[in-house]
Symmetry: C2
Subunit: 430 residues, 2 copies
Amino acid sequence: MRILIKNTNILSMTNEKENIMENINICIEDGKIKHIGEILEHFTPESIIDGRGKLVMPGLINSHTHIAMSLFRNYADDLPFWPWLTEKIWPVEEKLIAEDVYWGSMLSIIEMIQSGTTCFSDMYFFMDETAKAVSESGIRASLARGLMGQSADDLDRINETIQMYKNWNGKADGRITIAAGPHAPYTCSPSYLEKVIELAKEYNMRIHIHLSESKKEIEDSFNNYKKSPIKHVNDIGLFDLPTMAAHCVHLSDEDIDILAEKNVSVLNNPGSNLKLGNGFASIEKLLKKGVNVALGTDGPSSNNNQNMFEELNLASLINKAINGDTTCVPASTALKMATINGARALGLESDIGTIEVGKKADMILIDLNKPHLYPKHNFISAMAYSAQASDVDTVIVDGKILMEKREIKTIDVEKVMYKAEKHAKELVSR
Amino acid sequence: MRILIKNTNILSMTNEKENIMENINICIEDGKIKHIGEILEHFTPESIIDGRGKLVMPGLINSHTHIAMSLFRNYADDLPFWPWLTEKIWPVEEKLIAEDVYWGSMLSIIEMIQSGTTCFSDMYFFMDETAKAVSESGIRASLARGLMGQSADDLDRINETIQMYKNWNGKADGRITIAAGPHAPYTCSPSYLEKVIELAKEYNMRIHIHLSESKKEIEDSFNNYKKSPIKHVNDIGLFDLPTMAAHCVHLSDEDIDILAEKNVSVLNNPGSNLKLGNGFASIEKLLKKGVNVALGTDGPSSNNNQNMFEELNLASLINKAINGDTTCVPASTALKMATINGARALGLESDIGTIEVGKKADMILIDLNKPHLYPKHNFISAMAYSAQASDVDTVIVDGKILMEKREIKTIDVEKVMYKAEKHAKELVSR
């Protein structure tokens, strides 16, 4: 499809000084950004978008979530962590069926598109259903079957991952990537982790794992292995593979050095870390050491939304407060965490994450004509500190319009809300 | 005006167990909630609102802001605090003219109405302009001329307050209240504060003041007065008047005891405290001691928005994180801070802050038919953890509809955006 975005403004999120371009045109063809500037001669768009009063920026990348958990959104809040997990979440997860995961995934994909997210990285189960939802909806995703196991012979979930890889990797016009998803060092034994490493090496998969989320996890790791979770998995060889490490709230200086040296991408989830009482991840320290830090919402049952504008705002504000320094994680850094750094975490930085000729056309148009975005002193500040999810007007993924003027084109929104409600209610009383 | 809201759901924010009422009607007459239940016989509404799929809750109360500062929104961010204040904000404030304050106030009032705020408490200058904007727009407000002075003879601003009181207190159908606004103990000498106390006693005004916002303020107070800012102003007698104390980030146990004993209302501004690097106010401790804690956004140049849904979410999340306890500041408490506690801070708890028969009709209707509010497990969690400003569908203040289906009825929104942009740009180049 050929799309022309006319007379618009661009926040490219490239590192050039000319990050902002005003009154300019974008030509999209074959899923890619073909041209930025004057409208190309002989370019015959099938769709023309009026970009006046809009800001085009890269689609946001939610680097860590469990989207099917939208079914448990607002189901169990303000409870102590362990009763929440063991008495509320695990019992309903036990009862989940494939169809629940499909509708929960669809509900989250609508929420993500409506709030400007064009790509996400997920870890859960019944992942075939999430892949189907990704394929149908037009969004982009990295998907990992959550892996837990005590012995290298626990092959069920590993075989599911292989099947997922064969069925889905590179499918949906290349919008789906399959990753290996060892859940955490406290749910995977060392021998099981070694098995997962073997799997990931064989299929050239990235690793998606939870690391150093709670203080208890750190204490348990020292009790069991006499070292931190980061050092523990590094010693096993996990970081020899490109790794996305979710959370990393509690880190020693040595941990940070390991993450930097091994080029591990940290997936920061400020909203979830606060809500689950895990504390404040000091991103500032990681960034100073050159670690790639991306942003995620975590699952919608521990957030309870998947609004990346909220997360990038939080990441900036929290780091200013913990360091007592207003210059920490400035607006531009927070926006990078939500775009190009996310792309880097997923290994997709040459395809997405910035608005540049040759990259895939994954972009969002922000409606600047909102009272809370006035006066127009600075677009970058406005996007980090004032923008709301509902300012996202239009969403394009892989050169296809998924939402235009806030109307979702690829999904029957009313049907999904009805089905998600039905499945959620059935599930809790199943 | 007589308004009927039909077949709706109510989150009353009363302390009763029956906080949530479903499929119910509200009759509004003469600015007040006349009846909740079956539609009254002989009630002849002039306006009927279809409340299906909506949640009626009390309008949010922004207890601390400087609304005209919307003109400096996104003007100077990510700078160290003192250069920000002395090189950026103060120089433009020096050049402010009355008309700037009018358009800046109008811009903020639109933002507040669109995000569900029906009442605010402001401190700034050219307050006649803000009062005009309140009067015209239909919102409710407590207004205080910011007072700074070194000697009891610095009468200019005090006389302005008296004039404001005479011109505006109880005006606009009683929607405007005038408070005395000593800026802070570091900008008001003890003798000046005594003069302000005298003023407030004479006119029966409440006090609105900034207290214990930054670590530097505490250090300076100990250097100058050998005590904390809280103890200092209490010893002068300030807390013998009903007081709204903004910020209170850095408090000793003795400070908290004073605030509790003197029934001081604390106005918590989590977004601003984070963004300006001042840290995390531990609301949990204050609540445990029975202190009334309300919520505010602070001025839009240090936030950079006036979205109370964001603040109440932050208040809950931050307190869970600093205490490492997921049960801290649960959803219902955060919502109380943004409604009835705000009303209490302003001395308006018998008029507003809950949905009850006899109270003034200050209420908002939330559109529950949004993907990010599904499934409908729990309305209270949904409002605190998932709701967005743009979910506010309809806003009623003093029994008058200010916004219906997101259309503002009382203000020419396009004109205000144009004028605010013009004044902001002229101001910075003046």
